[in-house]
Symmetry: C3
Subunit: 283 residues, 3 copies
């Protein structure tokens, strides 16, 4: 059953009417659509952040939802646009890495190139080289919400993936290497290390968490030890740092009622290392 | 008659999809809901500001509206959640002081603890310790909008109130003591002194308004005299300060086409004192 | 056919519930309205920017849309409110220059003074001198969306126009003089020079573009030559400046994946000059 929901995610900000104009186009094509803003304040051109934010919303929208994502530094160049999905949910986004986290967490997702000829011919001489959100993505989302997928789907393709969206687990299963995906409004720093990564190890309680910089962090000596995993903010005092599994299932570095990003000087793409300690059994 | 409106007020910001995810949950449970954003840009964890902003909207929404407020620094700790209301309007919020201004202005409001067991069992292993907006508040709001209050209402309780949300009037009725509740986008500084406070005095025209700091302001000498009450911004020149009764009925310190907060160095919780001057009658 | 869409454009920001309260008023009067945010983050009192942003959205909303614009530094003074429109679209805005770009691009627009007596009598003692968005504009927009224009339309008037919203073309057609209308989220600087201005000249390829400051730029020597017109961002390297016709048809100064405003030090109202070079034909 189609819910007729379009969930919009862009880096268009809110100083301009860019997102509002997409809504005007959508309602012009189908006045009964429900239009929901995920965010328009993704840092300009930050594809990794957009990929994470998209993932956090994916499971919480009803079947039939069309996720329309426009974080698109390559607009007007030759980049492809993706249309894909699974389980009745549809994603339309530039093929620039935005699909990374949805692909990582939902292996069943399939993607196709979006056929844009029909949409371009509709836009005619109004087609802009800088605002495909208005001229391509919004009309495509309206068609997709109306079930007109045949008009839109080209050849099946493998979407571009960003390596920072994944973790690297050592062969001897002694460590996980990841990076900072996203810094949220509260200054919480979300890493690419998922609860499922931790579950691969037998002793998640025996883990030491280190923060490296994106620059150079080969030796342990340059790393900063982070606090051990907690379940609740309230397990530490006000202003104290902690690590916990955040609401989207990823390891998060936080400060209770404070900003971990500011207090610990963390940036997107900084490295995170988890080391599992072999403890001698005393039994 | 139920309007099926959910009015959302949070400090989730717009960099993330937190507010959008709540909407996904709400529409999953009831696709016909109307979802309105009051604000998601309340300063992080600023309960006093959230309480004021909630009050400004309360009277202007139709009966049946559910106000769902998530400014919740105590998330995951033992804090209770409130469900309450009056006149067909419902409020769901953490019991941390957010109810203060609605309670002050609407004495008929009644509150109950929100029963969360049913909601927690629905969320199952997805229940997060950090995002009750998604897992508890949004589902509760959907149930409340659908009239399922019996499932949600626990024991009646008195909500936590913040003293800064109220005024203290001297016994001899010579002065009112209040504080800064909120600074709005324009830099207007809204105080806790309401038109109704002023109406208790016989000569509201004979009032002197002083600004103290939240720190120490025992003697009048440390206070700063503010301009007398005006009716319109246009009664003073561009860039000049004034005081007036703002659109929500509270005394406001403003600068015409400027920021009173910046120009006068005012912060939330700074003190405000009104002194009523006994003038000799000449009749 | 009426779409029942209200498109809202204000400088109310998102720290407060001002925009949300307008929506509460609108839904109280007509629960079936569709409410779309164009922007609430217009720089405080920046009428020129609001006029431009309004124009960018105008053509992309369906007939029947009511554009309700509240960027209103003169609220509470004697300024008039406009109601006008064309082609089934309606604009309600203060008569302070906001209509400039719609009027420039759509000569068929007609405007009337908004009759506020009925709305003021409805608001009664709740009528605020500082929040006409809630007490006048929102109720007027609900009436307009419901087709009750007779109640609202006063005498026909010519709206106030801002000279910066227009261009001045030299008599000998050797140059166009314009200014910066708006700086968008990405730092793109949109000028008042429209594609239609360029089309008046025979050789749009032979144009040199100069940036002057709003202060003093009488002689060419004080001006800064800008790069020649391109079609796509991707025609220049990352971090390099370019000029192009933006998505709303206006000449735009941009930096690929960067901020032209920051990199080139451009402000709203800075001057832009285009000089057309007479090149000798070699045929």
């Amino acid at each position: 059953m189609k819910a007729g929901i379009i969930a919009l995610l862009t880096d268009f900000g809110t100083r301009d009417a860019y997102a509002g104009i997409m809504k005007g186009v959508l309602l012009s094509l189908n006045p009964s659509l429900k239009l929901i803003d995920l965010s328009h304040d993704i840092d300009c051109h930050n594809i990794l952040s957009a990929s994470y934010v998209l993932h956090t919303a994916w499971d919480y929208f009803p079947n039939g939802t069309v996720f329309c994502v426009v974080v698109d530094p390559g607009v007007g160049s030759g980049r492809s646009i993706l249309i894909g999905g699974a389980g009745g949910k549809i994603l339309i986004a530039p093929d620039n890495g935005i699909a990374s986290l949805p692909v990582r967490m939902h292996r069943e997702l399939k993607f196709y190139t979006l056929k844009t000829e029909y949409l371009e011919s509709k836009a005619k001489n109004r087609l802009s080289s800088t605002f495909h959100g208005r001229d391509i993505f919004a009309p495509a989302a309206a068609l997709a919400a109306g079930g007109k997928l045949v008009k839109l789907k080209g050849a099946e393709i493998k979407p571009m993936l960003l390596k920072e969206a994944f973790t690297r687990i050592d062969k001897d299963r002694s460590s996980i290497n990841g990076s900072i995906l996203h810094i949220d409004r509260f200054g919480n720093c979300i890493t690419s290390v998922h609860r499922q990564d931790l579950n691969l190890f037998h002793r998640p309680d025996g883990v030491e968490i280190y923060l490296g910089s994106a620059a150079a962090s080969a030796s342990h000596k340059q790393e900063k030890r982070l606090p051990d995993l907690k379940k609740h903010y309230s397990e530490v005092g006000l202003g104290k740092p902690l690590t916990l599994i955040g609401s989207a299932g990823f390891l998060e570095i936080a400060v209770r009622e404070g900003s971990a990003a500011v207090q610990l000087g963390i940036n997107v793409k900084d490295e995170v290392h988890l080391h599992f300690i072999e403890r001698k059994r005393t039994s």
